[in-house]
């Protein structure tokens, strides 16, 4: 397919052109050209996705370097439905973010647009590539543009610190990835993922392969912000411009999860076949830690963007459990959940951006009741909260049901409870914020962590003039994203399509076949039916989220009844937990080392 490389290259070319002519280009031209390139990318990725859905996955060998005798010489774009789907999704969210920033920023120069377009190219390239080193290159490209975009508001102190923490943590993760690639290259003499997989199939597991896997996984999990390498995410989200946060939470961290899944099924599934149970346990352990840590931290935040960031971390825990189940339903459930979550979280960030745009403040307590002047924003925000709790029958619900089924099938009956916890706390936190900000319910002060309120006040707003009106576009874009999040799950053929896509991702031998030999293989995909108890879980989580929010907002009398000692102890414990997120880069890298040691150590011990 001739256009295969274009969704990656066209945004890059456009970015280079924008940079060379930006001094003489009016704002309107910059915005419209960036948005049209975004739309073009979405179209091309959608065409590629259609091709894979129709004719199956295919490999595009750049430079025409076809593999000879199963030895790859060039770089391939190995495109299967999941990769193409993620690429389309990334392009879609970038276009939505660019549309939103049209009215969000009052003055940006071409550098922002150029960086966003390169970011788009990197994400598409990351999803489509079939070469391990190319994956790392696009990872670095995503990261480099992300660092600059995070530090965009350089007049404030927060973005500088956030960008530094982000940059150093992700760079260490990237060097872990390079080390892992070096180890695999030394063993197999190949850089193409299919070829590495084929070579490792012959050799089996030994410490080198296990350590390479641990290094690669911890590197990509750093991008995905799993515990304990997640500390950078809240810092970066708190300070990056809103359209950029939309992309970080909506698709960038999900790409880290995608990489782990891709690497497992393409490269490590063969040698680790005998140890599936142990690896499953390790990944689910990390995932559960992440889901619970994220949920607790999310609920205790008052800085709305940080709250949303921690909710992303909690959901990443769910993604990690989902792919960690190493099963068909686990994969398809995660993929569906990622779509629903990405759209919902993007919309929520955009709505938080409306608050920031209007009030120059993003603290839940400072904004108490002030949102009453923008009821539509409030309604959409509350809707987002309900969606996050995976209420039936939105897209998130279908993803969660698949995950519940997969957990039970894999022998983890307690895992759905973790999912419910995560949905309840993250959805409940958003609902609580909606109640406090847009309806004026609940307390208006919390002296315990007043200093967090300082971080939430914009020191220098992006515009000087007062903002009485919120531009319609800033509401239309999130509204459409939420509508999509509700509707996609029930479109006939959508979820079964995702299940077929997941089947291709899992198909280890099939992948090697169509990449290195060009033989397309269509693995069987079973369509899962939603069981009755799934509706119960979904409804339960939604009700629980509402109840939790209501309890927090109106439950002061109840609090007075509980013994003071208990309340004080709980408060101290939570504050201590929160203090771990100190903003100090040394702490973060110490945690990174611990995480790498934990993953590496457990792999060496349990997977031998």
């Amino acid at each position: 397919m001739h256009i295969t490389a274009l969704p990656i290259v066209v945004p890059m070319i456009a970015a280079a052109l924008l940079v060379s002519v930006r001094k003489w280009t009016p704002r309107l031209a910059l915005d419209s050209s960036a948005i049209s390139v975004g739309v073009a990318s979405v179209t091309m990725c959608a065409l590629i996705l259609a091709r894979t859905a129709h004719d199956g996955p295919f490999a595009y060998w750049l430079g025409g370097w076809q593999p000879k005798h199963m030895v790859s010489i060039g770089i391939s774009l190995s495109i299967d439905p999941v990769g193409a789907g993620l690429a389309t999704f990334a392009a879609l969210l970038v276009t939505a973010a660019l549309l939103y920033s049209w009215r969000y920023f009052d003055s940006i120069d071409g550098l922002f647009h150029a960086l966003m377009l390169i970011f788009l190219a990197a994400m598409v390239g990351f999803s489509l590539t079939g070469d391990l080193f190319d994956l790392a290159v696009f990872f670095e490209l995503m990261s480099a543009t992300a660092y600059s975009l995070t530090a965009y508001k350089i007049e404030e102190r927060g973005p500088i610190q956030g960008a530094i923490n982000f940059a150093i943590t992700n760079s260490v993760g990237a060097y872990g990835i390079f080390t892992g690639i070096g180890l695999l290259y030394a063993r197999t003499g190949a850089l193409n993922m299919a070829q590495i997989g084929a070579a490792l199939d012959r050799h089996g597991t030994d410490p080198l392969v296990l350590v390479a896997m641990a290094l690669l996984f911890i590197g990509f999990l750093t991008k995905a912000a799993a515990v304990p390498v997640h500390f950078w995410l809240a810092d970066a989200h708190a300070v990056a411009p809103t359209p950029v946060c939309v992309l970080f939470s909506g698709v960038m961290v999900e790409l880290g999860i995608y990489a782990v899944a891709r690497l497992y099924w393409t490269i490590f599934a063969g040698p680790l076949h005998a140890h599936t149970e142990e690896l499953r346990a390790i990944l689910i352990a990390f995932g559960t830690m992440t889901a619970i840590w994220g949920g607790v931290m999310c609920y205790s935040q008052r800085h709305i963007k940080r709250l949303l960031a921690f909710s992303t971390i909690s959901h990443v825990g769910m993604f990690l459990c989902g792919i960690g189940l190493l099963s068909a339903d686990g994969l398809s459930g995660t993929a569906t959940y990622i779509v629903g979550h990405g759209l919902t979280k993007a919309a929520l960030f955009m709505l938080a951006g409306v608050l920031l745009h209007r009030f120059q403040n993003i603290d839940e307590f400072d904004l108490h009741g002030r949102g009453r002047e923008i009821p539509w924003t409030g309604a959409l925000f509350a809707l987002g909260g309900i969606l996050l709790s995976a209420v039936p029958v939105v897209t998130l619900f279908f993803g969660k049901s698949l995950l519940d089924g997969a957990s039970l099938a894999a022998g983890y009956p307690w895992l759905p409870a973790v999912f419910v916890f995560s949905s309840m706390f993250t959805g409940g936190a958003v609902l609580r914020v909606a109640g406090r900000v847009f309806c004026g319910w609940g307390a208006s002060k919390r002296p315990l962590d007043e200093e967090q309120a300082h971080q939430a006040r914009e020191e220098e707003p992006e515009e000087q003039a007062s903002r009485g009106r919120t531009p319609l576009l800033m509401l239309l874009v999130p509204a459409s994203l939420l509508a999509a999040a509700i509707v996609i799950g029930v479109i006939p053929g959508a979820v079964p399509g995702i299940e077929v896509a997941a089947a291709h991702l899992r198909d280890h031998h099939g992948y090697i076949g169509w990449v290195l030999r060009g033989h397309v293989h269509f693995p069987p995909a079973e369509t899962t039916h939603i069981a009755g108890y799934d509706y119960l879980y979904g409804a339960g989580a939604a009700v629980g989220a509402v109840a939790l929010a209501a309890l927090t907002l109106f439950g002061q009398p109840l609090l007075r009844r509980t013994p003071e000692l208990l309340v004080r102890r709980a408060g101290i414990a939570i504050m201590a937990f929160r203090r771990l997120h100190s903003g100090h880069i040394g702490d973060y890298i110490a945690w990174w080392t611990a995480g790498a040691a934990l993953l590496g150590g457990s792999s060496l011990i349990f997977l031998r």
């Binding site: 490389a5 940079v19 003499g189 611990a594």
Partner: protein
């Protein structure tokens, strides 16, 4: 965490991580005994296939050109980030201090730029440019290529600066020109790939005629790719260094008065 807690925590973690790393590394083939198939195949066939004698450059600009495209744009966006971060700040500083006018007219010299240094830079700068261009253009033949040559080329304006004439450096390499040059370099490389798509149907497929291996105009699109990359790398580094030097100038101005 307090410093002591952090260091203790890290100490334990790094001991475990170090053990993991070393255990992994023991599985590596002994030093000097590597038999990877990818490298061996390429060493064997690249000369005949690409008519280039430098295999590393053939990999960089032809066989694995897509990686290089990505890397090039990493360079591009990092330097954009540096520009973003520092130029904004400089505008602020210039607004704060009233010395905006004066700064433009003074010539900044570094104390200690002796006559000997100036004379030497007069000799070195053209030499650096010549060597840089040579290395960029001969990428496919001898060790070198766009990246290496580009860095050498970027050092040439720096030589002018070291000779003690900062503003002369800015006159030789004004910001807008350098930025455009860098963007054109990045664009150029992508367009080479696009040329492959347009003329022979596959992105980054070679579409220029091969010559005789060992001659300057051989190896198809590699010299052109090399030149594009050289332009971009040179532009990127000059831009980055100018931004930092501007910052240093501002700070030393603030200190002086």
């Amino acid at each position: 965490m307090s410093r002591r807690t952090r260091l203790t925590f890290f100490g334990v973690a790094v001991a475990c991580f170090g053990t993991v790393l070393v255990i992994g590394f023991t599985g590596l083939p002994p030093f000097g005994d590597y038999h990877g198939v990818y490298g061996q195949v390429l060493n064997g066939v690249a000369v005949s296939l690409r008519h280039a004698t430098d295999i590393v450059t053939s990999l960089n600009f032809d066989i694995r050109a897509f990686d290089t495209l990505g890397e090039e744009f990493i360079l591009f966006s990092s330097v954009l980030g540096v520009v973003l971060l520092l130029r904004q700040m400089r505008k602020e500083d210039e607004q704060e201090s009233e010395e905006g006018e004066q700064e433009g007219e003074e010539e900044h010299t570094f104390a200690g730029a002796s006559e000997a240094l100036r004379a030497l830079s007069l000799v070195l700068v053209p030499t650096m440019i010549a060597i840089g261009v040579y290395i960029v253009v001969h990428g496919a033949l001898t060790p070198g290529g766009g990246f290496q040559g580009g860095v050498i080329l970027a050092a040439a304006p720096l030589g002018v600066f070291l000779g003690g004439r900062y503003l002369k450096m800015k006159r030789i390499a004004p910001d807008t020109l350098v930025e455009s040059g860098e963007a054109i370099g990045a664009l150029g490389f992508a367009l080479v790939g696009l040329g492959g798509l347009i003329f022979v149907g596959i992105f980054f497929k070679n579409f220029l005629p091969f010559g005789i291996p060992g001659h300057l105009l051989s190896a198809g699109m590699q010299p052109i790719a090399s030149i594009a990359v050289g332009l971009e790398v040179a532009g990127a580094f000059v831009l980055a260094w100018t931004e930092f030097l501007d910052q240093a100038m501002l700070m030393s101005d603030e200190e002086d008065g």
